[in-house]
Amino acid sequence: MAVALVLVLIVVGSVLFHLLSPWWWTPIASNWAYIDNTIIITFWITGVVFATVVLFMAYCVFRFRHREGNRAAYEPENKRLESWLTIVTAVGVTALLVPGLFVWSRFVTVPSDATEVEVIGQQWQWSFRLPGKDGKLGTSETRDVSADNPLGVIPSDPNGQDDVVVEAADLHLPVGKPVKMLLRSIDVLHDFYVPEFRAKMDMIPGSVTYFWFTPTRTGTFQVLCAELCGQGHPMMHGVVMVDTQEDYVAWLGQQQTFAQLSAPQKTGSADDRTGQTAAPGPEIAARLETVGSR
């Protein structure tokens, strides 16, 4: 009796928690509302299955609990029932899979008008690179990474000279324009994750990965690293600001190109970064040193 009641309470409690608790996803800021919708469909189907199975169990425990003189029925198989249950399950699974794969095909098909933005992860900071006037990013190579060339842009590639380099500072994006995020790492795995954009992808040293999205509202969003990358992992925060077109152009105008940064007279450029809110990697590493020696 108590057991059946607890089982019912688990179902009721879980449903109420789902409906009433304050913990839910962050307001979306990208075009991936499709993903949210797929999650809602999944919640409905799985919620109904969970409630049905557990309530059925509760009923059985109540109705068929042992009492003196009871005897169980003897029924090894029931082919019809088993076939029906298999078919119903297959239908339910298809109802989840089909919309999921449909949205996935959108997720992996980058629109042709998407602007490329490169994200570079390293322990434990984010840097960015935007194509210059030629609209093309220069090629890059981890072996070319040095103090003067922190992102490893290949100096001999003419396409790279006018690339805008944003080292360990905030990224700005114009609202309403699709962007293809090209993801690169120069040391370990990282993962570029902005919860409000609903998208994330690992960054692998030696490869370039990608995802695309369209920012749908202006604002300031926190970038989190979502792939364990060493001790500084939880502090590897960054900032993406989604701007109106005018603000974006103004910001872009203040940035420096690869050619400007690598010109010999320009030294100490790291000190006059603008708009930086994230702690850069060396600073985090230094903090960890102090923490570790406590």
Partner: protein
Amino acid sequence: MVDITPADGIPPAEVAEVELYHPHSWWTKYVFSQDAKVIAVQYSATATAIGLVALVLSWLMRLQLGFPGTFDFITPEAYYQFITMHGMIMVIYLLTALFLGGFGNYLIPLMVGARDMVFPYVNMLSYWIYLLAVLVLVSSFFAPGGPTGAGWTLYPPQAIMSGTPGGQDWGIILMLSSLILFIIGFTMGGLNYVVTVLQGRTRGMTMMRLPLTVWGIFTATVMALLAFPALFVASVMMLLDRVLGTSFFMPAISEMGEQLPHNGGSPILFQHLFWFFGHPEVYIVALPAFGIVSDLISTHARKNIFGYRMMVWAIVGIGALSFVVWAHHMYVSGMHPYFGFFFATTTLIIAIPTAIKVYNWVLTLWRGDIHLTIPMLFALAFIVTFVNGGLTGLFLGNVVVDVPLSDTMFVVAHFHMVMGVAPILVVFGAIYHWYPKVTGRMLNETLGRFHFWVTFLGAYLIFFPMHYLGLMGVPRRYAELTDMTIMTESAHHLNSFISVMAFIVGFAQMVFLFNLIWSVRHGREAGGNPWRATTLEWQTPQTPPAHGNFGKDLPIVYRWAYDYSVPGAKEDFIPQNMPGSFGPSREPA
């Protein structure tokens, strides 16, 4: 309804029995024993001991998550060492060892009607190599630099780099060495289990008369023999990368301004090898639990398991399918996105045989005679948590839904519910069920019920709300949840609540351990078959069973394992070794 056929005549034995090794001293009887039952207890005790280490580690990490900044000694470095060792211990050294080395060793020979495993000496070696693996693992806590903090997935390149605890010290070397030893030890035991099930069954024990416990352990062992080699080679290759400076998994890397000598390797190759092992591993833990819980439900509901043949084929089908779903752990790894279509489809297909198993468990309860014994309570709790955890798998398996949820607390909640809580509830149920056979005494009922309610409700309260933190976007593997704009104040309170529940649930396990030890001497005498069960381990002449299990003559099996409440029979159970004249066998032909 199925066709009803009486039990066939039993063919005569084709091969004469082989004489067992008989121990000559206390050492060969209790320490270097070749008796599968002693080895089972050794495996279980070692797994429990190392499992307690993992439990303490989980408390330490929950201290940090629930009350950030309060405990100075939990540095990020220490936190990552805690989570890594907790995960690896729970998955490999506790659950795998306990289900296969513990339950497998104890139950396979008894349930199939054999005197022992087919290769007792190799079986003994298997345990001692496992113990060595555990000792190497534990030694990393005392090594310079401490254990590895690479996460239980050990993803390179960070696993062997200086930014990760133990990456350039002894931690990762000891971890990989321990895994290699574990796999060698497991292979010795695993071959034994498979051969014993295939060749050691007594007369009349056809494959389709095996209890589902044996089917679950057997299938899981076959899978483990196929899956562990992938982890073995991955471990060897990473060890070479770390020690000899090869570049299997290491591309060109610029670490903190310094160019490393590696070049040309593939970090993602490791992930494929790891998950080719890692996904079957989930079912290596789950299938024995599926099998055992089927037998618990059937015995304590006094009813045959519903759809036995479907259950067997579901176990085999899940086992086979689980080898073609591994990359669903890698949807956001940066592999080619078109793989997503294939792996999402295979992953959701595996939900169908899994759902069939759930239906058959609850349909076994239907029109049963349900005794709410402690094993039955744990079995019911298993179904609740397994259904919950299995259904959230449909979120994560559906590639595009995984994109926002991957690497968040949703994943942590999901896999703890489905392969942590659910199988461990079965472990508990199984211990309450078979403890009387192992020791001859019952576990204390009051302590048992206390243990059950705190563990079940507490674990549900830990992991159910945790999904919603993940939905909010809270990432996993964060040693600090400070300065997170997405986290509301109340989310931090939820974390504190989860931590408090974790301490309570952990405490209940101490009560359980006390019960285990106390009842050896003070428990109620159990008799040979306290649950009035049908399977052969309950029909032994002595309890606990003596060396050789079955006295002078091996039992002969006349019926399937589920003749409960057979119409016309006097008792509500008919043991498998009871000839046909004591009542009709109605096993499905």
